[in-house]
Symmetry: C2
Subunit: 240 residues, 2 copies
């Protein structure tokens, strides 16, 4: 069984890739391919008999080519494991979070793997605006001018996490998980995520996530993990 | 379908209660009783036809009598919902966390319900000892003398959460989730949890939890929620 994991593409794109594979003469009938959407990631699981290895290799090569930027794992590793490995390997880096709408979920996921204490410094859950200011050092003027859910505040949260927890990498998250609190301009599901290296690279992303409160929180957490991975690999944001 | 939820008793105790019910002449054959262990809680789910209502009432009364201290829900509400309701209703109180081994899971669970921003001030994830000192204001001497996993540090974390996040109720957690980090004196699964009201009541509990890292983290989170519930109800710790 081989697993390809992609993030940031619709499942329909994989269907299109399967059509192209067929058109290119790859004998897909020799493969048992299952694609599923899990936590916002597309997982392509393929089972096949040993003689079909060349067929799988051709298929995997096509996926790699067509989805170079969104394919993040072809060895079964989850994004969580990749982030853990990237933080641990030289140059070893530490990480810290400052989360609003996710309420600690990103810190909880980062600390899930055994040995996380080697690279997780800690995190701030800054639900109240006063906490954003007092704990994460967000300039209250930013909140006043741009609102608590804004790119500026997400960036300030990432910087605050780095500063206050003395970490190399910071994650800042602010958004509207719902069901209440949305406006026309800033609807439920709007989240700003900022990941930054101390004095270095940064990725900021605005997402508009579908679903209920739990979905928005869970999806945001997954996006944040992917942004950390991209930052640590020096990739920049998707399509940027 | 009726649900009784208990916390802090072994499932075997419920089996004993069923035997006593039978012995007391309660026609258990008229009830379809399922007991299961979920996240450390015992859930007794009973299905029955309307005519069996008096039988169920007699059974539920026996459970209430025998398990007065551990029965926490007979109306289907989870401990999460109870904590949310208790914090919201007069006198309304706010809550904050300072977590080590649970890494944000308690904050994440407290912020799961819609409307949590009304009572959750925020939280601190203080994995590194330096973070415990710098963010939660734990006296470094406490860590030096008693170790990071100790009643004293758990109490200091609860107090620090109250202080730093300006909350009415604080939760402090420090423990060894494993798989590494355990010693003979402080094995994997040892966790200290402290919940406190500003200048008021407090419950400290030491637990020794079985299972792997994820189990220890999840169980600790559930115990913490139950301690918050007991604190808010003015109950004190179980058996204390």
């Amino acid at each position: 069984m081989d697993v390809l994991r992609l993030f940031g593409i619709p499942e329909s794109e994989i269907a299109e890739t399967l059509r192209r594979a067929q058109a290119a003469g790859i004998a897909l009938d020799d493969l048992e391919i299952t694609t599923c959407l899990r936590r916002g990631e597309v997982e392509v699981v393929t089972r096949y008999e040993p003689p079909a290895q060349p067929v799988y290799d051709a298929f995997a090569a096509l996926v790699r080519e067509r989805h170079a930027d969104t394919l993040f794992s072809d060895d079964g590793r989850s994004v969580d494991e990749q982030v853990a490995d990237l933080l641990r390997r030289a140059p070893a880096r530490t990480i810290a979070t400052a989360e609003s709408c996710t309420g600690g979920l990103v810190a909880a996921r980062l600390t899930e793997p055994a040995g996380a204490s080697a690279y997780v410094r800690g995190g701030l859950v800054v639900y109240a605006n006063e906490a954003k200011v007092a704990l994460a050092g967000v300039d209250p003027a930013l909140i006043e001018v741009h609102g608590a859910v804004s790119e500026q505040v997400a960036r300030a949260l990432a910087d605050g996490a780095i500063e206050r927890l003395d970490a190399d990498v910071g994650v800042g998250i602010t958004g509207i998980a719902g069901p209440a609190g949305g406006t026309e301009e800033k609807p439920v599901g709007l989240v700003w995520i900022s990941v930054a290296e101390r004095g270095g690279a940064r990725i900021d992303r605005r997402v508009n996530l579908p679903g209920g409160r739990a979905d928005v929180r869970d999806r945001t957490t997954t996006v944040a993990l992917h942004l950390v991975r991209r930052l640590l690999l020096g990739l920049g944001d998707l399509g940027s």
